[in-house]
C-alpha cells in the first residue's frame, strides 16, 4: 500500500503544532509528510516575539526541537511559497516550480498584518510587527531614530510599544478608538491601563484618525497628520492595526471563504473541499476568525484526529487572556464589556495602587460572565475557572475582587472545587484530570508535569494553577514532602551534620556504611564533603575526600564553560599592595589569562588550563597570596569601604575590621557561599545590607545585619543587634556562622535559611544573644577549632606530588586540551565560539 501524502502549507505556530500532534498520534509508516515554510526559518514562537530584542537569537524562539523533522522523516521546504493549488489534480506548485502532490492538504497560512490605506504608508520608515525580519528592520531603524510611533492600541500594538521603549526611543501609541485595548477592556479599565502606561513614559493618543504620513518635519523625519487637524512628528511608524486571514491561495483555488475573509471550515476543520483542511488564523469558523494561538492549536488537534478517523470537534474558543503589557498586568475574560442583556457588574477601583477590577455576573448573580483586571491579575485563573466551568458564584461575588484588607474574605476557588474536566491549560487544552493522571503515574514535579502533559509550556499563565492541582493531588495520595538528602541517605543535611559530629565520623564511606545505602551520588557526595570539612577542617583533596568534591572544589578553581579555570587569590577586605598587583600581572601575562576586577573587590584571572594551575598558584603563593576560595561554598570575601582611615565621613575603621573578619572565617566550609560587607558609616558604601553578614559603623560601634544577599533574589539583611563593640560582634558572628553551618539545608543561603527558621529574626536573636538553646559555648568552641585548623588549600596541594599529578589534562600525555581555543576581544581573550574553532574539531564533534 502506498503512503498517504499529507501536505501542510504554512509552518507557523499552528502548522508546526499540527505536525507535532500528528507525529504523536499517527503511525508514520503510513504517511509521507511535506510542509511548506515560506519564511527563511522553521516555526518560531510569535507570542514571545518581542523577547527577540533582548536575546537576538532566532534559535531561542524556535519551536522545533533540533532534529525533529529529520527524525520523523518530514520534508520541510524552507523558503518555498505555495503559489497555486490545483484541486482536480491535487497538486501544489511553488514559486520555484516544484510540484507537490497531496492526498490531504492542511492550510495553515496564518494571517497578514492589515495596514489601513493611509497616504504615505509605503514609506521605508513604516513597518509591521509580525516576523523576525520585521523586528530586525525595526531595530536597525530605531538605532538612527529619536522617536517612534505605534499605530494601534490593541494587544499587539502595546506589545510593540514595549519593544520600542526597550529599544530606547521616545514612544507614542496612536489609537483610533477612544480607549486602549477596546477588544478586551471596558472604558475604565482602558483608562487605568493608559494611566499606567503614561506613567512609565509612553505617550498615548486615543481617538486619533491618521490621515496622512508626510516625509519631513522640523524635529523628525516624518509628520503624521490626523483628522482633527493635529500633527505628530516622528521618525518611524509601526502599524499594528489588526490582522486579516491569509486566504489568497484558498481564493485562487476556489475554496469557500467567509464574508469577512478566512477559509470557511466546519466543526471538523474541513473546508468546502473534503480533502482540504484549514487551521489557525487563516480559518473562518461560523464567520469568526481567531487571532490567538490556543484556538489554532485546538484546530490542529481536531484536524489530526479527523485525518486519523477519531472523533473530535472544534466548538469555538475562549478568548480570555492574561498578559503583561509594558510591565502592567492585564486580564480579560469573556464578556468584558458587559454586553449580555441585564447583566450586572461589580467594580473595584484603587487609584492609589492603579488597580482596576470589574466582574460581570448574570442577572441572577449566580454565574460569572466576564471580567476585566488591570494592575492586579492574581484572581485571573480563579475567575476564568468560574466562567469556563460555569461554577456557581459565592453569595457575595464582589469578595472575589476585593483585597483581603478591604474586609472582603478571600474566597479563592480551591482547585478541589474544579470539575475533573476543567481546562487548566488552554494553550494545550490540558484538563485537570490529565494532570491528576500524570501525578498518579508518578510525575511529581512541575517540570515533569510540563514534559508529560505539555501544560504550562505555551503562555505559561496557568503554572500557578498547575502547581495547585499538583500539590492537591500529591496531598490526596498522601505523598509527604520529604527533605531527605537523596536516595542514598534518608536524612536531611542538618541530621547528617549532627550524626557526623556526634559520632565523630570522618569519611563518606563510614557514613554511608552506617546511615546510608548504595554508592552515593552527585548530591550527597559534595554535601557530605562539605560537612566533613566544616566539622573537622579536613583537607578537601585528601584521598578519602577527593572524589566527593564538586566541580569547583576538586581542582580548587571555578570551572568555566570551556573547561578552563579561574584563578582568584584572596585580597582581604579588597586590599592589595602594588607589589602584589605586579605579581598578579606577571602571572596573567605569562599564562595569557583574561583579567578582570570581580564583583568581590578582587582580581580574577580567567582561562587557565588545568595543567597550569599548580605553576600559577606557586608564583602567587611565593608572592604572598593565598587561595581566595572563590570556588568554594565558603566565605568568599569581605567587602569594605575605606572607612575612617581615609574617608572624611567614616566613623569606624571598616577596612581594618573587614580584614580581621575575612582572615578569621576564611576557608570555613558552609552550606552555601557566604559574603560579608563592612561599611565605615551609615552611607553604606560597602552595600553591607545586601550581604549574608552586613556590618555598618555607628558612632558607638557597629550595627550587625544578617541574612541578606544579592544575586537572583536580592534581599536586605535583617538587623540582629546594634552598637556592638568589636569583641562582642565577633562573638555573635562565631555563633551565627556555626549555627547556620549546623542547621541549614544543603545549598541554602542565609536568607532562605532565615525565612524557614520558625520565629524568624526574633528567634535568631534569642539563640545568638540570649543563648536560648544553651549551645553558645559549643558553637564558639567549634568555630575556634575550625579557625585553628585553617590552612591554605593551594599551599597544601603544591606540597603533594601525587596531588599535582592530577592536574595534567591527560594522564598519558603532556598535551593540552586542543578544544580549548581563544579568540581576541578588547585587547584580551575569550573562549572561542564553536563556529570559530578549527573545522576538524567540528567534524569529530558530529561523530561523537
Amino acid at each position: 500500500m502506498s503512503k498517504q501524502k499529507l501536505v501542510i502549507i504554512g509552518n507557523g505556530m499552528v502548522g508546526h503544532r499540527f505536525i507535532e500532534d500528528f507525529v504523536e498520534k499517527a503511525d508514520l509508516e503510513q504517511f509521507e509528510i511535506t510542509a511548506f515554510c515560506e519564511e527563511p526559518r522553521v516555526a518560531y514562537d510569535r507570542v514571545h516575539l518581542s523577547s527577540y530584542f533582548s536575546h537576538h537569537t532566532a534559535d531561542e524562539l524556535s519551536l522545533v526541537k533540533e532534529g525533529f523533522y529529520e527524525k520523523h522523516n518530514i520534508e520541510v521546504l524552507i523558503g518555498e511559497r505555495a503559489l497555486t493549488i490545483n484541486r482536480q489534480e491535487k497538486v501544489i506548485h511553488s514559486q520555484t516550480g516544484r510540484a507537490v502532490y497531496y492526498d490531504k492538504l492542511i492550510m495553515a497560512t496564518g494571517s497578514y498584518p492589515w495596514v489601513p490605506s493611509i497616504k504615505g504608508n509605503e514609506s521605508k520608515d513604516c513597518f509591521v510587527y509580525r516576523t523576525i525580519e520585521d523586528l530586525n528592520a525595526i531595530e536597525a531603524t530605531a538605532r538612527r531614530s529619536k522617536n517612534g510611533v505605534v499605530v494601534g492600541g490593541g494587544l499587539l500594538g502595546l506589545e510593540a510599544a514595549g519593544a520600542l521603549k526597550a529599544l530606547g526611543v521616545e514612544t507614542h501609541v496612536i489609537e483610533f478608538a477612544p480607549v486602549l485595548m477596546a477588544e478586551q477592556l471596558d472604558q475604565q479599565g482602558g483608562q487605568m491601563l493608559r494611566n499606567k502606561i503614561e506613567s512609565i513614559g509612553v505617550n498615548v493618543h486615543t481617538g486619533k484618525n491618521t490621515q496622512e504620513i508626510v516625509v519631513g518635519g522640523e524635529t523628525a523625519r516624518n509628520t503624521m497628520k490626523f483628522a482633527d487637524g493635529t500633527e505628530l512628528e516622528v521618525d518611524f511608524i509601526v502599524f499594528s492595526t489588526g490582522i486579516r486571514p491569509q486566504d489568497k491561495l484558498a481564493k485562487q483555488c476556489g475554496l469557500a471563504t467567509g464574508r469577512r475573509g478566512g477559509i470557511t471550515i466546519d466543526n471538523n476543520c474541513k473546508t468546502s473541499d473534503p480533502d482540504i483542511y484549514a487551521i489557525g488564523e487563516c480559518a473562518s469558523w461560523n464567520e469568526k476568525f481567531f487571532g490567538l494561538v490556543a484556538p489554532g492549536y485546538n484546530m490542529a488537534k481536531v484536524t489530526a484526529d479527523d485525518i486519523l478517523g477519531r472523533d473530535n470537534e472544534f466548538t469555538g474558543a475562549d478568548m480570555s487572556a492574561k498578559l503583561k503589557l509594558l510591565g502592567v498586568d492585564v486580564g480579560s475574560i469573556g464578556d468584558a464589556n458587559g454586553r449580555t442583556p441585564n447583566c450586572k457588574s461589580y467594580v473595584y477601583l484603587d487609584e492609589n495602587q492603579s488597580v482596576y477590577k470589574r466582574i460581570i455576573v448574570s442577572e441572577d448573580g449566580k454565574h460569572l460572565l466576564g471580567a476585566v483586571l488591570v494592575g492586579d491579575t492574581e484572581s485571573y485563573s480563579d475567575l476564568l475557572q468560574y466562567t469556563l466551568n460555569d461554577i456557581e458564584l459565592p453569595k457575595h461575588p464582589d469578595s472575589l475582587i476585593l483585597p483581603s484588607h478591604a474586609g472582603g474574605e478571600k474566597v479563592g476557588l480551591g482547585v478541589d472545587a474544579l470539575p475533573e474536566a476543567a481546562v487548566v491549560c488552554s494553550c494545550f487544552d490540558v484538563k485537570k484530570s490529565d494532570i491528576a493522571d500524570a501525578v498518579a503515574e508518578g510525575h511529581c514535579t512541575i517540570g515533569a508535569i510540563k514534559a508529560e502533559t505539555g501544560a504550562g509550556t505555551g503562555c505559561g499563565g496557568c503554572i500557578p494553577l498547575i502547581t495547585q492541582v499538583l500539590n492537591s493531588e500529591l496531598a490526596k495520595q498522601g505523598v509527604e514532602v520529604k527533605n531527605h538528602l537523596c536516595e542514598h541517605f534518608e536524612y536531611s543535611r542538618q541530621e547528617l551534620f549532627h550524626l557526623i559530629r556526634i559520632e565523630g565520623i570522618k569519611t563518606f564511606k563510614d557514613l554511608l556504611a552506617k546511615y546510608g545505602q548504595g554508592y552515593g551520588c552527585e548530591v550527597c557526595k559534595p554535601t557530605v564533603g562539605s560537612i566533613l570539612a566544616s566539622c573537622w577542617g579536613e583537607y578537601i583533596l585528601s584521598p578519602e575526600n577527593n572524589g566527593l568534591q564538586d566541580t569547583n572544589d576538586i581542582f580548587l578553581g571555578n570551572m568555566q564553560k570551556d573547561g578552563t579555570y579561574s584563578v582568584i587569590p584572596r585580597m582581604p577586605g579588597g586590599e592589595v599592595t602594588p607589589k602584589g598587583l605586579l605579581a598578579v600581572a606577571n602571572v596573567a601575562e605569562q599564562y595569557e589569562l583574561y583579567t578582570k576586577v570581580t564583583g568581590a573587590q578582587r582580581i580574577g584571572l580567567f582561562g587557565a588550563h588545568k595543567g597550569d594551575l599548580p605553576d600559577i598558584w606557586k608564583q602567587l603563593i611565593d608572592a604572598g597570596f593565598e587561595t581566595g576560595h572563590a570556588y568554594g561554598k565558603s566565605l568568599r570575601m569581605v567587602k569594605t569601604c575605606v572607612g575612617s582611615t581615609w574617608c572624611r565621613f567614616g566613623v569606624q575603621d571598616s577596612v581594618g575590621f573587614g580584614v580581621e573578619l575575612e582572615n578569621r572565617y576564611k576557608g570555613l566550609r558552609t552550606p552555601h557561599k557566604i559574603k560579608f560587607g563592612v561599611s565605615g558609616c551609615t552611607r553604606e558604601c560597602a552595600e553591607a545590607q545586601g550581604k549574608d553578614v552586613g556590618i555598618i559603623a555607628t558612632d558607638k560601634g557597629w550595627n550587625l545585619y544578617v541574612c541578606g544577599n544579592g544575586g537572583m533574589k536580592p534581599k536586605h539583611g535583617e538587623l540582629l543587634a546594634v552598637d556592638l563593640d568589636n569583641e562582642t560582634l565577633v562573638k555573635y558572628l562565631d555563633r551565627f556562622m556555626m549555627f547556620y553551618v549546623r542547621t541549614a539545608d544543603k545549598l541554602t543561603r542565609t536568607s532562605v535559611w532565615l525565612q524557614n527558621l520558625e520565629g524568624g529574626i526574633e528567634y535568631l536573636q534569642e539563640v545568638i544573644i540570649n543563648n536560648k538553646l544553651g549551645i553558645n559555648d559549643q558553637l564558639e568552641k567549634e568555630m575556634a577549632d575550625a579557625i585553628d585548623s585553617y590552612e591554605c588549600e593551594w599551599t597544601k596541594t603544591l606540597s603533594d606530588d601525587k596531588q599535582l599529578a592530577r592536574f595534567a589534562h591527560f594522564i598519558n600525555s603532556d598535551e593540552q586540551d586542543d578544544n580549548v581555543v581563544f579568540t581576541p576581544e578588547r585587547g584580551q581573550k575569550r573562549p572561542a565560539f564553536i563556529d570559530e574553532k578549527a573545522p576538524t574539531y567540528k567534524i569529530s564533534l558530529e561523530e561523537a
Partner: protein, 108 residues
C-alpha cells in the same frame, strides 16, 4: 577490531575519581568508582557544552547503575553505555576498559 591500549597504572587514579587519557587522538574519560580493580571509559566531551570535562565529574549511582554528572550542568551519563539520564536523544561514546597486571587498558 581495534586493539587494547595500555593507558596508565590503576594506582594513578584516586578511587571514586576519573582521569582523561589521549588515545588515538580521542579524549577518553576513565573512571575508577572505588578501591576495587574496576574501571569504565566514555568519551570526555560533554555534548551539551561541547567541552572536554566529563572526567572531572562526580561519579554517582542512580537506578542501580553508575553515572558521571557533568561538572558543568550536571547532566548524567551512564558509565557503561554513555547514555544520558536527562535526555534519551543524547549520548556519548562508551569504550571497553579492563585492568591487566595493574594496568588500565582501553579498547576504542
Amino acid at each position: 577490531m581495534s586493539k587494547w591500549i595500555k593507558v596508565c597504572s590503576l594506582e594513578t587514579i584516586f578511587p571514586s575519581t576519573g582521569v582523561c587519557a589521549l588515545i588515538d587522538g580521542k579524549q577518553v574519560a576513565i573512571f575508577r568508582p572505588s578501591e576495587e580493580s574496576k574501571v569504565y571509559a566514555i568519551n570526555n566531551m560533554d555534548p551539551f557544552a561541547r567541552s572536554n570535562v566529563l572526567s572531572r565529574g562526580v561519579i554517582c549511582e542512580h537506578q542501580e547503575q553508575l553515572w558521571v554528572a557533568s561538572p558543568l550542568k550536571k547532566q548524567r551519563f551512564n558509565l557503561l553505555d554513555g547514555s544520558c539520564l536527562e535526555n534519551s536523544e543524547v549520548s556519548v561514546e562508551a569504550y571497553k576498559a579492563r585492568i591487566t597486571d595493574g594496568q588500565v587498558e582501553i579498547r576504542l
